[in-house]
């Protein structure tokens, strides 16, 4: 008999949720972690960056106190070390939280690097990867190296920053998100390569903290996965804040100085320029951690750096599953969590519903925030839909104006034939907290009719959502 029913490799938002769900369903469960419980999300991603951004946001409000009729006497400045310490403290709390959840659910924690040696068996060796500091120590009572067996093994090893050849991050002049999160001192100028969620959030943070920021994006728009109109709206807002943005532009070469870099940049038309900055952040996406897991020997199928899975997170090898970033895009914590539940419930035979990737929302916490779900207008058109598109600006929303956050836009896209909500796209204050309304609507397959029939509370920013729907059908009231 195997040591465990389920072993999960990796304790990020996918892995630890899988462990909890497995334990809830009565499986004898263990989780293997080599570095930090709760994964990148809590330690070096979603959560500590939100802490940094919150500090930046409050700094911003302080700097704009007089807009609200407030007078700030004396200086109002950032204490960088304290800002970073706060962010690390919050990461540590999340880490401890997961430690508690493992204990509460009687999930064994195995500390080290796991490798599948044969179906149903892993060998755990001491961690070779040097950990990014500061680091929360491993939990007490964690098991160590050895061989462990389980009927079901879930690979949840996540992803790491992608490095472009010749522009590899060195941790000193060229940063990944790791170094970007714990700056010892503020650079005066910063070049951010890549304007996806990670790149643009750091660009926003550093810009608000007073750094001269240039963003270089190879695609024709910033936040390239978002709807073009939302991207254009956000770009204007960023530029108004003093951010420099180059789109359709590529960093071809980086020369390193003593305390600066010089990036050679080429645009689509062949125009060349160089930009010198103190530091550079490489944010050109992430790649799955599929190496040194013994996947090749077992014949687990991978594709473009990710493990190939079916609707229920099963790989082509019986008893081996994959969830989260390592199982392919979109590489988002909430996608990993949802896959974790699907995967474990399917193992239990509970017939979970497969995930519809179109229903996965995306949130970016730059200022202004961006949130979306479903198809962009361009993708909906490409899919052959005849569209009804509605828009509503924050400037026409009382609550947004009262908050001093009148820069924003909600855009909704409907299938003209059926009234199916195909996509919703938002930019502006707190939209990351609002998008779930459209997510629920899409999951319930509401049409424009139910959305128009629903009463949205006044005064809230959420009213912009309903107005956008009304606008799609020519019934907008406040614009």
């Amino acid at each position: 008999m195997a040591d465990y029913d389920v072993i999960i490799i990796g304790s990020g938002p996918g892995g630890y949720v899988a462990a909890i769900r497995a334990a809830q369903l009565g499986f004898k469960t263990a989780i293997v972690e080599r570095e930090h419980l709760a994964g990148i999300c809590s330690n070096w991603g979603c959560i500590p960056t939100k802490a940094l951004l919150r500090s930046a946001e409050i700094l911003h409000y302080g700097q704009h106190a007089k807009d609200y009729g407030l007078k700030l006497e004396g200086t109002f400045t950032a204490d960088l070390a304290a800002v970073v310490a706060r962010s690390r403290g919050i990461a540590a709390r999340m880490n401890n939280g997961v430690q508690f959840l493992m204990k509460k659910n009687k999930v064994d924690v195995i500390w080290g690097e796991a490798k599948l040696t044969k179906p149903g068996t892993i060998a755990v060796a001491p961690t070779k990867k040097p950990a990014m500091q500061p680091q929360v120590p491993p939990p007490k009572g964690a098991k160590g190296e050895g061989t462990y067996t389980a009927d079901h093994i879930i690979v949840a090893t996540g992803a790491r920053p992608r490095a472009l050849p010749g522009i590899e991050p060195d941790g000193k002049l060229i940063w990944t998100y790791f170094e970007s999160m714990v700056p010892a001192k503020m650079p005066k100028s910063l070049l951010v390569m890549g304007s996806g969620a990670i790149g643009i959030e750091f660009a926003s943070f550093y810009r608000t903290m007073g750094v001269e920021v240039t963003v270089v994006e190879v695609m024709p728009q910033v936040v390239p996965v978002e709807d073009a109109e939302i991207g254009a709206f956000a770009r204007k807002a960023f530029e108004k804040q003093g951010m420099k943005i180059l789109t359709g532009a590529k960093v071809t070469k980086v020369e390193k100085g003593a305390d600066s870099i010089t990036a050679h940049i080429e645009d689509e038309k062949g125009g060349k320029q160089t930009i010198t900055a103190d530091r550079m952040i490489s944010a050109v996406g992430v790649v799955g951690n599929i190496e040194n897991l013994g996947l090749e020997a077992l014949g687990v199928k991978t594709d473009r750096g990710c493990i190939v899975i079916d609707d229920y997170c099963r790989t082509n090898v019986k008893g081996v599953y994959a969830i989260g970033d390592v199982a392919g895009p979109p590489m988002l914590a909430h996608k990993a969590e949802h896959e974790a539940v699907i995967c474990v419930e399917a193992i239990k035979g509970l017939h979970p519903h497969a995930m519809d990737k179109l229903m996965i929302p995306g949130c970016t916490y730059c200022h202004p925030q961006i949130a979306s779900v479903g198809l962009t207008e361009a993708k909906a058109k490409a899919a052959g839909y005849e569209l009804k598109v509605g828009r509503f600006p924050f400037v026409a929303n009382g609550k947004a104006v009262a908050l001093g956050e009148d820069s924003g836009l909600v855009k909704t896209i409907f299938d003209a034939k059926t009234g199916k909500l195909l996509g919703a796209h938002m930019v502006g204050a707190e939209v990351t907290e609002l998008i779930q309304g459209f997510v629920v609507a899409m999951n319930l397959e509401t049409t424009e009719e139910e959305l128009m029939h629903s009463i949205f509370p006044h005064p809230t920013i959420s009213e912009t959502m309903k107005e956008s729907v009304l606008d799609a059908y020519g019934k907008v009231l406040n614009a």
């Binding site: 229920y312 399917a346 519903h353 059926t418 009234g419 199916k420 397959e445 509401t446 049409t447």
Partner: protein, 445 residues
């Protein structure tokens, strides 16, 4: 020594049949009792069971060959250790004949499944009806169904708690199922006039509604296919109508008790033990004799007026059902019917019936009373024009002469092919039947 497999005769009158399908390949090992092939006639599909053991050395008549004469050599079995190649030539004519025994495959299934749970279900378990009840469907699904003219009540939902969602409507559209009133449904594609009936959902469309691991797939055997084909055909082509009547059983039960008590001993056992069903068979046969216009079969050009009342009786057997026939039941005594029925039922369960024992018949009886079923309607089993569905005999309150009384009452429902038997005629038959049941002495003379 190689043995020949001969084309079996499914009935004494059969001269040729179609070799539908080989279920074994050349080179396969065959054990006695293995099903090796399926044979079809216009009436039935039957499985051919191997009698000998060995290796299927040669198939001489391939799959799908029509009009194969009875006793033609269709294949050769080599005995163990025998050279398969050498054996592949048909054995000499002296070789033992008829090495293949036909195995009953429900060529004439009765109209309903033996258990309520196996009763043919509607295309999909309705999640909501069209009767104005709020259908459990997403708003988008409701709108799409309306546009496509689909009846939500006929669509199985795959969403949480069986909620009908968009993809279920897409699947229903693809599968062509669940069309609502024809007027509401613009024909997607012109269909040939000869095939106006909706095909069911495609296999894929059905499977898509369930998680891949949530079911086991069991291939249909010959009996299941025959039941499905014949009952679908019956329900789609025969205009059914139904007549229900209550019969008081007390006199019949009393007579039955007296007759059984008076049964002479034979080999230490009573010579007969009559069941209510045996008496129902006899009563129906006598009723058909009394109302001969109802003892008929419909053909497109003529009406066949039968001279005997032959009563098929639905017998539930593992994996399906079969209807052995009590021929000329009105001229048989109750004890004859009873003993014949016991023998037929026992052999039906072992699939040992001869084709002539379950083919034909001019009417049928299906009794689910032993399961406590009060009343049900059976599907006519052509070429019959009627089938009698028998419910449980139970004590009920009845009114007699203005007074409430207790009587043992059995509800029976006659399903009728309206082309052959009209309403009043069917009612007359039921009246005659009720007469025999309530005055059972008449059955003895």
């Amino acid at each position: 020594m190689p043995t020949n497999i001969l084309m079996p005769a499914l009935s004494p009158t059969m001269e040729k049949g179609n070799l539908a399908k080989w279920l074994k390949k050349e080179g396969d090992t065959i054990k006695s009792g293995d099903i090796i092939a399926e044979i079809e006639t216009d009436k039935a599909t039957m499985e051919v069971e191997a009698v000998d053991e060995g290796i299927l050395a040669k198939i001489l008549v391939p799959d799908g060959t029509a009009d194969v004469a009875v006793n033609e050599i269709i294949g050769v079995i080599a005995a163990e250790g025998e050279d398969v190649k050498a054996a592949a030539a048909p054995a000499k004519a002296e070789a033992p004949k008829a090495e293949a025994a036909p195995k009953a495959a429900a060529p004439t299934p009765a109209a309903e499944a033996p258990k309520a749970s196996e009763a043919p279900k509607a295309a999909a378990a309705p999640t909501a009806s069209t009767s104005g009840e709020r259908p459990f469907a997403s708003p988008l699904a409701k709108r799409l169904a309306k546009e496509a003219g689909l009846d939500l009540g006929k669509i199985q939902g795959s969403g949480p708690h069986g909620r009908i969602v968009e993809k279920d409507i897409e699947a229903a559209k693809a599968g062509g199922a669940a069309k609502a009133a024809p007027a509401a449904a613009p024909a997607a594609a012109p269909k040939p006039a000869a095939a106006p009936l909706a095909a069911g959902m495609s296999d894929e469309a059905v499977k898509k509604l369930f998680a891949p691991d949530s079911y086991e797939e069991v291939p249909h055997d010959g009996m299941r296919k025959t039941i499905a084909r014949r009952l679908l055909e019956s329900k789609q082509t025969i205009p059914h109508f139904y007549l229900t009547i209550d019969c008081e059983l007390d006199a019949l039960l009393k007579l039955r008790a007296e007759l059984n008590a008076a049964a002479p001993e034979k080999d230490g056992k009573p010579a007969y033990k009559l069941s209510v069903n045996d008496m129902v068979i006899k009563a129906l046969a006598l009723a058909l004799r009394a109302v001969p216009e109802a003892n008929v079969s419909w053909t497109e050009n003529t009406m066949l007026k039968h001279k005997h009342a032959d009563v098929g009786v639905a017998v539930s057997i593992p994996g399906g059902l079969i209807t052995p026939v009590i021929n000329d039941a009105c001229h048989k005594t109750l004890s004859q019917i009873s003993n014949e029925m016991k023998d037929l039922a026992a052999r039906a369960k072992n699939r040992k019936l001869k084709p002539e024992e379950y083919q034909g018949g001019t009417t049928a009886v299906s009794n689910l009373g032993m399961f406590g079923v009060k009343d049900f309607a059976a599907i006519v089993n052509p070429p019959h024009a009627t089938i009698l569905a028998v419910g449980a005999g139970e004590q009920r309150a009845v009114v007699k002469g203005g007074q409430l009384a207790v009587a043992t009452v059995m509800s029976v429902t006659l399903s009728t092919d309206h082309r052959a038997v009209d309403g009043a005629l069917g009612a007359e038959l039921m009246q005659a039947f009720k007469g025999y049941i309530e005055k059972p002495m008449a059955m003895l003379v």
